[in-house]
Amino acid sequence: MTARPGSTAHDIAVIVNGTERRARVIPRMLLADVLREEWGLTGTHLGCEHGACGACTVLVDGEPTRSCLVFAVQADGCRVDTVEGLAGDGPGLHPLQEAFRARHALQCGFCTPGILMTLVAYLRLHPAPSETEVREALSGNLCRCTGYQHIVQAALDAAAAGRAAAASA
């Protein structure tokens, strides 16, 4: 029996960026909290903590998900991808990160991990988006520095580069 309601711990196992990680969590812990506090993956940023800003977006089983709106216990058995896993093991950046660098698509960088994860998932399904479609895809991510212009351009560049790479493959 538990000492008080809500203190029952649950053991979870999650494949994070390809590696299995385990933790013991109480139900009210958010997925974002476990990523940051238990596993040290502080690239996932928490902005508003109620699903409005999109900074904490990660991929859960491949789908862009706000990690402040999922309890860690719910992620048991899932695959979670965070910004730390984007570039893989190589020395370089992910092509989308490279486009962000080239286009100066970030200033303070707080919103960037969430935007990258949103766009990675979006471009996978929509390799040739229009500018309007990119803006709609990003409607759930707030950036208070850039005015979005360079972010949208970077996304369009990355999409074009992805298409070129696919054509030459």
Partner: protein
């Protein structure tokens, strides 16, 4: 902001979920996509002692077709409405409305049933389900019952659902009859934001172009989705643009509009009248072309 402590259960069957609800009643909260519930828990507007997570109940997650039409499990994700060809064929209104539901990230997780039981007055899906004359299948440990969408909503964030009941399945009447069209229109400050006003319509014409079925629902304006009464006047007529505009205005006038810091009541009513005419116009044009 973190939720108050709660106990967590993740049943695998509808029966187990219903037993938990029967035992804990008002202290338990069902968790589906969590895109409305978790923000409210994070802000401690809602503090359930027990959360019953439905995400591992496989029986609630499917899309099926049968002789009567389309059957959506309550846990079908909102993004399935934009991706599933069966839904686009049987209920194209749902596919058209889907991109307006929240954002990419919330549609990936948010569920059809969750949006319906949450009953936000600005939500697209309650309005669409009423326009489509969908039937909701409700279950509790005591009984099962069916409820027409138009009888399910009871004002601001309120429905007929009892504390020990869950919405299990949504039945959407099958492939639309020939010469049936749909229309959807909404205005929000930014794509994906809560609608300031919106409208959806289903309209059918006979071979002579005379209207024989018209359902129009306005959302985001009053305390809940509003099924138009004024469309009754369209039956037996050939709908002209001027008549549809008139019906739009009359329907907006039927609603007790809400004003808040985003828009005044008068603005909402005026915009809704225009959107209603637009939704009806698209529905009529599609019915004509079908």
């Amino acid at each position: 902001m973190r939720p108050a402590p709660f106990e967590y259960f993740a049943p695998r069957t509808v029966e187990d979920a219903l037993d938990l609800l029967a035992c804990h009643g008002g202290d338990a909260k069902l968790l589906a996509g969590g895109q409305s519930l978790v923000p409210m828990m994070n802000m401690r507007l809602v503090c359930p002692g027990l959360v019953v997570d439905l995400n591992r109940v496989a029986a609630l997650g499917g899309v099926r077709e049968d002789a009567r039409g389309l059957r959506l499990g309550a846990l079908v994700r909102q993004h399935a409405l934009e991706r599933d060809a069966r839904i686009a064929a049987a209920a194209p209104l749902l596919a058209e409305a889907a991109p307006f539901i929240g954002h990419l990230q919330t549609r990936a997780r948010g569920t059809v049933g969750g949006s319906l039981v949450h009953a936000d007055p600005a939500a697209e899906l309650p309005a669409c389900m009423i326009a489509l004359d969908a039937v909701f299948h409700l279950q509790s440990a005591r009984a099962q019952r069916a409820c027409r969408a138009q009888d399910f909503f009871r004002g601001l964030l309120a429905t007929v659902l009892e504390p020990d009941e869950l919405l299990a399945e949504i039945e959407v009447p099958g492939v639309p009859a020939p010469r049936t069209g749909h229309g959807f229109a909404e205005v929000a400050r930014r794509h994906g934001d809560f609608a300031l006003a919106g409208a959806c319509a289903v309209l059918a014409l006979d071979a002579a172009g005379v209207c024989r079925h018209a359902r129009l629902v306005i959302f985001g304006v009053g305390d809940g989705p509003h099924l138009a009464r004024a469309t009754a006047g369209l039956l037996g007529e050939r709908p002209s643009a001027a008549r549809l505009a008139e019906v739009g205005r009359a329907t907006a006038g039927e609603i007790d509009a809400r004003g808040d810091l985003h828009a005044t009541a008068e603005y909402r009513r005026r915009v809704a009248a225009g959107l209603a005419a637009r939704a009806l116009g698209r529905a009529a044009a599609r019915a004509e072309a079908a």
